[in-house]
């Protein structure tokens, strides 16, 4: 088998064997519909409730505060639309971070078409929002604030507890998109003080198409999918039972192994970053230097086209990303990098490494061997390289 070094774990992960094994019986043995009253259905319903408790435990929530979804995007849509529709009489103003994922950004923009007003909360050079600035932007008609817990693109972790406190004082609902953070750092919804939190199965190494929304008990939320009484009447449609089983098992394992994972990926990430700084000149690290996801490294390489870098690394069996999966495929300059003030020509050379447990020191050594070669090759063809100005790494 050809060498493969996969460092794009924010985009997709290999599902754990224990998770696959747990899911298998629910395809062909325990395949009953959980809404039926006979035992083949009620057993499956009980299994779903067990997984709900496991996912709740991972984030310090109560089981009844978890709605299973088809992933992070649906959870974000449900949070934004569910609150905005259910609380329309209270107000029509929404505030979101300037560096949110498209599922938050485009959900908020959808409400602009319905005559709501959306304010974008700007970030500093590290991608951090300022809770004091948020306080100034909240108005009597503000109903919802949404700020991502951590950025998949630049790794920065936001001061969510402080932001939540501002929202609580102003009596405004607060949602955080924690797709990048749940499974990578410890999360407790009560400590954070959030009203809603989205998570995805991907960082837990559960199957794609799985996720959940935490909503504080007692919160009114308009369903996105009208149908039957699944998910306590908050999401119609027969449940993705194998996916939910997989998510629950992955949540259980993550809760047990998270400290070990954090140690493992942080050591590898630090080695990777140090090695790149030592071997590639004219780079700029992006995101916060300390308040960042432990397995996340992001940087911009001057006079390089990120897509070209990805393809050349691919030819060596190395898989990385240039930023968010959606933005990179659309060949757009990353809005996140623009928001943190990276000049467009430097933002073109964005590269993001996201590590997980399967990664090894050998993987990092291999990347550090190949990356300088690939960068030099691309720079030798670049007309920009001769006209360069020096950039600082940090």
């Amino acid at each position: 088998m050809e060498k493969r070094v996969y460092l794009d774990n924010a985009a997709a992960t290999a599902v754990r064997n224990e998770v696959i094994e747990e899911m298998l019986p629910f395809f062909d043995i325990e395949f009953g519909n959980p809404s039926t009253v006979y035992d083949m259905g009620s057993r499956v319903k009980a299994s779903i409730d067990d997984q709900r408790a496991k996912v709740a435990s991972l984030i310090g929530a109560r089981p009844e505060e978890i709605i299973f979804t088809s992933g992070g995007t649906e959870a974000n849509n449900l949070a934004i639309k569910g609150i905005a529709f259910a609380h329309r009489k209270k107000g029509d103003h929404i505030i979101i971070g300037a560096t949110e994922h498209h599922s938050v950004l485009n959900s908020a923009r959808f409400f602009e078409r319905l005559d709501y007003e959306v304010t974008f909360l700007q970030v500093d050079e590290y991608g951090l929002v300022d809770p004091q600035r948020l306080k100034e932007l909240i108005r009597p008609e503000t109903i919802l604030v949404s700020v991502a817990h951590a950025s998949n693109e630049i790794g920065t972790i936001q001061p969510i507890a402080e932001i939540a406190e501002v929202c609580r004082d102003k009596n405004v609902f607060f949602h955080t998109d924690a797709v990048a953070s749940v499974g990578n750092i410890p999360i407790d919804v009560k400590e954070l003080g959030v009203d809603l939190l989205s998570l995805s199965g991907i960082p837990l190494r559960a199957p794609k198409g799985t996720g959940a929304l935490y909503f504080r008990k007692g919160l009114r939320l308009m369903p996105l999918l009208h149908g039957g009484i699944q998910e306590s009447g908050r999401r119609g449609g027969t449940e993705n039972v194998p996916g939910i089983i997989g998510l629950g098992k992955a949540a259980e394992l993550t809760l047990q192994e998270l400290p070990q994972k954090i140690r493992h990926v942080k050591v590898l990430r630090d080695k990777l970053v140090k090695g790149i700084i030592d071997s590639v000149e004219n780079i700029k690290l992006t995101g916060h230097p300390e308040n960042r996801l432990p397995g996340h490294a992001s940087l911009c390489i001057q006079a390089i086209e990120g897509e070209a870098l990805v393809f050349l690394l691919n030819s060596h069996g190395i898989y990385v990303n240039t930023g968010s999966a959606c933005a990179s495929k659309a060949l757009k300059t990353s809005p996140v990098l623009v928001a943190i003030g990276v000049p467009p020509e430097l933002a073109q050379g964005s590269i993001v490494f996201t590590l997980d447990m399967p990664n090894t020191e050998d993987d990092i050594n291999y990347v550090l061997e190949k990356l300088p070669i690939v960068v030099n090759r691309l720079r030798s063809m670049s007309p920009l390289w001769g006209k360069r100005e020096t950039v600082q790494a940090g």
């Binding site: 009489k89 369903p223 009447g233 908050r234 119609g236």
Partner: protein, 93 residues
Amino acid sequence: MKFVKDIKADDTLDLVCRMCPLHLLEPGEKLACMKEGQVLEVLTDYDGALEDIPSWCDKCGQEFIGIEEDEDCYKLYIRKRERNHHGKESLSG
């Protein structure tokens, strides 16, 4: 339709934004945990509940007290009865 005002409830069930037929399932579960004579307040934005809940109370031997219309929802009041006035066992609650 019997309209009431300022009814004091012992417990509240908020079913606003939640789908039909939860308004026929959750009141029974809630009443099961309440004492004879106590009043349950059911909040809902589902118009169908205005007919369904009184009818459900009748079938299940619970006393339907009445409805109050609020700004964002209806409030329906049910008094828990162990047996209905015909002496029939409650089906639920």
